[in-house]
């Protein structure tokens, strides 16, 4: 029997920019009030609707995927559902215990040991002391860091922290679990573990709401999917249909030269922006055809509005389903760009041999440093790789051979009858 456990109707969330911010000073507010009073002027305020009149219902036992671009309002929705922030208007009804997992290891303290942090984190996520005690051995076992469990976590690697945090989260037993992009971090092994745990939740009949940019994960885990765009629900339905519809909307133009300035869904401080991208062939001409094994140059044109030091430019290549294939940047390759004066410039990523098999690939671009990003364009453009004779064997290798290839050859050492061979040779 299915019945709703979550009901959202006409939910809206408005942010007023400039009302309060992380650096509001009391003296400024007083000064502003005085000047405002003196001039009798109405200050202009900027209003941003993070969510607008969103309505949906979730049935008990449903696993609902939430997709959308950055800034579309997905995280705001999850924050409203988990009571971290409150709606401007609309209602929100739930039944049962809700746990939100917006981050792995929330509230971990460096000085405390792994065991102590299990208690702290578990309690923050809403577990009872008794529950934690009961599951402690399982949690430690699951994390796989038994021998370091009494070591302060400041000595842990980031991977160990992640495992510990996830071990706690995996033992939560809420009626409704809200998960935000937890799977985006960690190595492949860890991601697999996360997905398995999510799958367990699904089979145990719990209701899960799950935000991800990993379309493969959404498709495999979720029965239903909601696509949010600009604070509104754009589509709601069968996960597979919504995902493929969603993927289609990414920048339509594929190869040659593409203007990036018009793309709206970008983040970063804007001190420098990408203006356009060009794909160049071996002879340095703009190309419309990219083939497996090609020598390819990706030219990224940018405009700097300020003096930028130690600029890092990165390109991430993703599959159609959002799986990251390669993340390349000039810091990793050691090709530094020490100084960029304000103005226009470009950087080339020279790829000696494109080891991608035929198919559609997406690019994400970023400009700046990890802690100071100027421009980030996620999945901003896609390109198609065409079939080619990449092994030089005269055989067209297509997408049925997978996603990547590597220059390779086979050498055989099969059992052979030398006498027979000699005979054949002689006979020939």
């Amino acid at each position: 029997m299915s019945y709703p456990v979550l009901q959202v109707s006409e939910l809206s969330k408005r942010y007023r920019l400039g009302e309060y911010s992380a650096d509001t000073q009391l003296r400024e507010v007083i000064m502003r009030a005085i000047t405002k009073f003196a001039k009798r002027e109405q200050e202009e305020e900027q209003i941003v609707w993070a969510l607008r009149e969103v309505s949906f219902e979730v049935q008990q036992g449903e696993v609902l995927g939430i997709i959308g671009r950055n800034g579309a309002g997905k995280s705001t929705l999850l924050k409203l559902l988990s009571r971290i922030t409150y709606p401007t208007s609309g209602t929100l009804k739930v039944s049962g215990r809700v746990a939100s997992l917006l981050e792995v290891g929330t509230g971990f303290h460096e000085e405390l040991t792994g065991r102590e942090n299990i208690y702290l984190n578990g309690s923050i996520l809403g577990m009872r002391k008794q529950e934690i005690k009961q599951h402690l051995d399982e949690i430690v076992e699951f994390s796989g860091i038994n021998q370091f469990i009494d070591t302060p976590i400041k000595r842990y690697s980031s991977g160990m922290r992640l495992r510990l945090g996830f071990a706690v989260a995996a033992h939560l037993s809420p009626d409704i679990l809200l998960v935000d992009e937890v799977l985006a971090v960690g190595d492949a092994d860890f991601q697999k573990k996360c997905l398995n745990a999510m799958d367990d939740l699904r089979t145990s009949g719990r209701t899960v709401l799950f935000i991800s940019h990993n379309m493969a994960a959404i498709e495999s885990l979720c029965s239903r999917c909601i696509w949010i765009e600009a604070g509104r629900i754009r589509a709601d339905g069968e996960a597979r249909d919504i995902v493929s519809e969603y993927m289609k909307t990414f920048a339509q133009a594929s190869t040659g030269s593409v203007n990036l300035e018009a793309i709206e869904s970008r983040s970063g401080n804007g001190e420098g922006i990408f203006t356009h991208i060009e794909f160049l062939n071996e002879s340095g001409e703009t190309t419309n055809v990219i083939r497996s094994g090609d020598r390819l140059t990706i030219r990224l044109h940018y405009r700097a509005y300020k003096l930028l030091r130690d600029l890092v430019i990165g390109i991430n290549i993703l599959t159609e389903y959002g799986t990251l294939l390669a993340a390349n940047n000039n810091w990793a390759t050691g090709d530094s760009i020490p100084l960029v004066e304000p103005g226009e410039g470009f950087a080339d990523l020279e790829i000696d041999c494109l080891y991608l098999l035929p198919g559609r690939y997406y690019l994400s671009l970023w400009l700046g440093k990890w802690n100071n990003l100027h421009d980030v364009l996620k999945n901003c453009i896609h390109f198609d790789v065409e079939t080619s004779d990449c092994y030089g064997s005269g055989r067209g290798i297509d997408s049925s051979f997978g996603v990547i290839f590597f220059p390779s050859r086979w050498k055989s050492c099969a059992p052979q009858d030398h006498a027979l061979l000699t005979k054949i040779d002689l006979g020939a």
Partner: protein, 281 residues
């Protein structure tokens, strides 16, 4: 656990999430999260005593050093009266309360800002953060109090039965500190220059409170003004309980009234602002 039974034909009721609840629901919510308060206090204490090599020594050293300084400066040099108590006891008693108040107030004021990652990632009654800050500081006070008893014995001040009322004074102190602390905690989130102003406010507060001087030194016509500060009543009552003099009921009464008002106003402002914390922080 409040998992609603899903067996049988019973369909669980949907409950609306609101931004503010009535008193009964708020109290129920706090009760539900009581273990988190315990863990937050436990974390504060663990971390504090793990981090500083001096640990407990520091907790005792702070009022002790102040007591020595005040005894020399205000007692021996300025020769301020001490209501018949030996100077070290007179100052140590007031410094115990004052040290608790000032350190707990500062840590409560920073409790929201220093836990940004919790505020933006998970729900719990936000008031637990300043509450944990003022609660975990009680341990410091308790440890430092041992020295007070040492001093009483050393100076042969008779231990009267009145001393059993000290914990009641402590309750008053903690409630007042929480009331002021949550007010500043919320203010600190909204206005980032509060953290620069607070040490200055605390310094002025020190001299407005009878920490270095006795209440009896305050001119009669200003007494009511000084009494409006509950710290005055708290310190005076502590000294009276130790010395066995009669308890200054008038000052203590005002202190209780002001504490209750402060606590209500503090909680009101805090709860009103708490809804916005995740948006502003």
């Amino acid at each position: 656990m409040d998992i609603i039974s899903t067996k049988g034909t019973e369909i669980p009721q949907l409950a609306e999430i609101k931004s503010s609840y009535g008193i009964t629901q708020t109290v129920g919510d706090l009760w539900h999260y009581r273990e988190l308060l315990y863990f937050l206090v436990w974390k504060d204490i663990k971390v504090k005593y793990k981090q500083t090599a001096l640990g407990i020594t520091w907790v005792i050293l702070q009022p002790l050093a102040g007591m020595v300084l005040f005894t020399l400066l205000f007692g021996r040099v300025a020769k301020l009266p001490s209501d018949g108590l030996p100077y070290p006891i007179f100052y140590y008693a007031s410094l115990l309360a004052w040290t608790y108040f000032s350190t707990a107030l500062i840590s409560a004021s920073n409790s929201i800002l220093s836990n940004t990652s919790l505020i933006t990632k998970v729900y719990f009654p936000r008031i637990l953060l300043p509450a944990a800050a003022v609660t975990s500081s009680i341990l410091d006070l308790a440890i430092a109090s041992i020295i007070l008893f040492g001093l009483l014995i050393f100076y042969q001040v008779p231990l009267t039965s009145k001393l059993v009322f000290l914990p009641l004074i402590l309750v008053l102190l903690v409630i007042f500190t929480l009331g002021i602390g949550q007010f500043f905690a919320a203010l600190n989130v909204n206005y980032r220059d509060i953290k620069h102003a607070l040490p200055f406010i605390i310094q002025l507060w020190l001299f407005a409170s009878p920490v270095v001087y006795p209440m009896s030194m305050v001119p009669e016509q200003y007494k009511w003004m000084v009494s409006l500060n509950p710290i005055a009543g708290i310190i005076e009552a502590t000294r009276a309980l130790i010395s066995g003099y009669s308890i200054p009921w008038d000052i203590l009464g005002i202190a209780c009234a002001v504490t209750v008002i402060t606590f209500i106003l503090g909680i009101w402002y805090f709860q009103r602002t708490a809804r916005r914390f995740a948006d502003v922080i």
